[in-house]
């Protein structure tokens, strides 16, 4: 186990406390900045929201890395153990891409349904029943 002396290890722990607390504060600051709490006019800058979002995600991943490698001692385990635990989580990259894509597609469908529902009933010229292939005869329940 511990490849560090007791005194060294103790120092790492308190350094960890400072790092995690500081990163959390920076995250909250960025989040509030992006939402326009610090500078009012920032609320409506879309690209800033994305930039701030990416920054916060990066900082959270750094926090996760620090907790796993220092606090959970993954750094001092053999490589096989680390890989057998960490590599399977790569599957989540696919899950995130796939499901966010799916969520986006639901949104488009809902908008489509809403638009079609708002159209006046197409009574003229006996065109009833003509629906394009991508429209679904569904009613959105609130």
């Amino acid at each position: 186990m511990g490849h560090l002396s007791y005194e060294q290890a103790k120092k790492v722990v308190y350094k960890g406390l400072v790092i995690l607390a500081a990163v959390t504060l920076i995250e909250v600051f960025f989040s509030l900045l992006g939402k326009g709490h610090i500078v009012e006019s920032f609320k409506f800058i879309t690209w800033l929201h994305y930039l701030v979002g990416l920054l916060i995600i990066g900082l959270s991943l750094y926090k996760a890395h620090f907790i796993i490698y220092e606090f959970m001692h993954m750094k001092y385990e053999v490589k096989g153990l680390a890989m057998s635990v960490l590599l399977p989580t790569a599957l989540l990259i696919w899950a995130i891409i796939a499901f966010f894509q799916e969520g986006n597609s639901w949104k488009h469908r809902r908008e489509q349904i809403k638009e079609k529902n708002e159209l006046p009933a197409d009574g003229q010229d006996g065109q009833q029943g003509m629906r394009s292939g991508d429209t679904y005869p569904l009613e959105l329940k609130s």
């Binding site: 939402k35 609320k43 926090k63 796993i68 053999v78 153990l81 995130i96 639901w106 908008e111």
Partner: protein, 314 residues
């Protein structure tokens, strides 16, 4: 063979499971218990990831979503001041600090220092209990004070700019922009940050359709407004509930995490008692049990990093 026997004695006082571990050569040079704790945490990570990804998918699928800095802006003892995200930041600090005290307990365990282990584990338990108390307050406030439930979400977001109507149906000077959030109040309950629902005023609301508002059968007041920009300019609309999934996702995901914290506190308590009784001294394995519960406890902190990210920061 004498060497093998001593190794067995040293490593496997409590693990008599597999042959591989009893053979004196541990896979991955980790004890059975620790390795299995890692794999349990991996599987748990997938459970949480499933929850958080479903949150993301549903959020993406919805045209509006309650803004976290609007929903989570209350804190105990602070009255009705607006403090976006401050309270959850304090909750995060509690978990971070309890994670640090846990590392200290594990380190004292390696030195076979019984009093050190018990002392730092006690602090860890206090941190965990503090976090749970904060969560209890947060939930009480959301359910009791703001009427959010698993199936009902009174936090909505405007998709158009507009101006609220006065009680006789005239356009008032109280305007809002697209993207602004609101919390629908219930009749008779004044809400912080909502100047309209002053204590005396709110009592006058009555059920049904009115020029300025609509009150549904549950008592929620849907305020009416006139759209001031966009294709629907000039139309009168009324506020409606926000995406329903929000409440269910919030209570299930933070509840599932809170349940992990709760079980963690229970296990920490049991292991602290065992440590104090001298059980782990007799095992002579550097308080490995403390190390294992430590892994679990750090994982709870790790999950919170992502729950905090997804629910509160983004």
């Amino acid at each position: 063979m004498a060497t093998t026997d001593t190794v067995m004695e040293h490593h496997d006082v409590q693990n008599q499971q597999g042959d591989a571990w009893s053979g004196g050569k541990e896979p991955f040079r980790a004890s059975y218990g620790k390795l299995m704790m890692w794999y349990f945490l991996l599987s748990d990570a997938f459970t949480f990831a499933g929850f958080l990804i479903s949150y993301g998918a549903l959020r993406f699928s919805s045209p509006t979503w309650p803004v976290p800095d609007f929903v989570f802006k209350t804190a105990p003892f602070m009255g009705h001041r607006e403090l976006p995200l401050i309270f959850v930041t304090i909750m995060s600090f509690l978990l971070i600090i309890s994670s640090v005290t846990m590392v200290r307990a594990v380190q004292e365990g390696h030195r076979e220092n019984k009093n050190g282990v018990v002392f730092w584990m006690l602090l860890t338990i206090l941190g965990g209990a503090g976090f749970l108390s904060c969560q209890a307050w947060e939930w009480t406030n959301l359910i009791g004070g703001e009427n959010m439930s698993v199936t009902l979400n009174p936090f909505g977001t405007h998709t158009e700019s507009g101006a609220y109507l006065t009680d006789d149906g005239k356009e008032s000077d109280e305007v809002f922009h697209a993207g602004y959030s609101f919390l629908m109040p219930k009749a008779g309950e004044a809400h912080h940050g909502d100047e309209h629902a002053e204590a005396g005023h709110a009592a006058e609301y009555s059920q049904g359709d009115h020029p300025g508002y609509f009150m549904d059968e549950k008592g929620f007041i849907h305020r009416k407004y006139i759209v001031t920009a966009g294709p629907d300019k000039g139309k009168v609309k009324m506020e409606d509930f926000g995406p329903r999934a929000f409440g269910a996702l919030f209570f299930f995901i933070t509840g599932f995490h809170g349940f992990h914290v709760f079980s963690g506190v229970v296990f920490l308590f049991i292991i602290m008692i065992n440590a104090a009784s001298g059980l782990y001294i007799r095992r002579k394995n550097g308080y490995e049990m403390v190390e294992k519960i430590g892994l679990y406890w750090h994982f709870v902190d790790l999950v919170w990093v992502f729950v905090f990210l997804v629910f509160y920061l983004l």
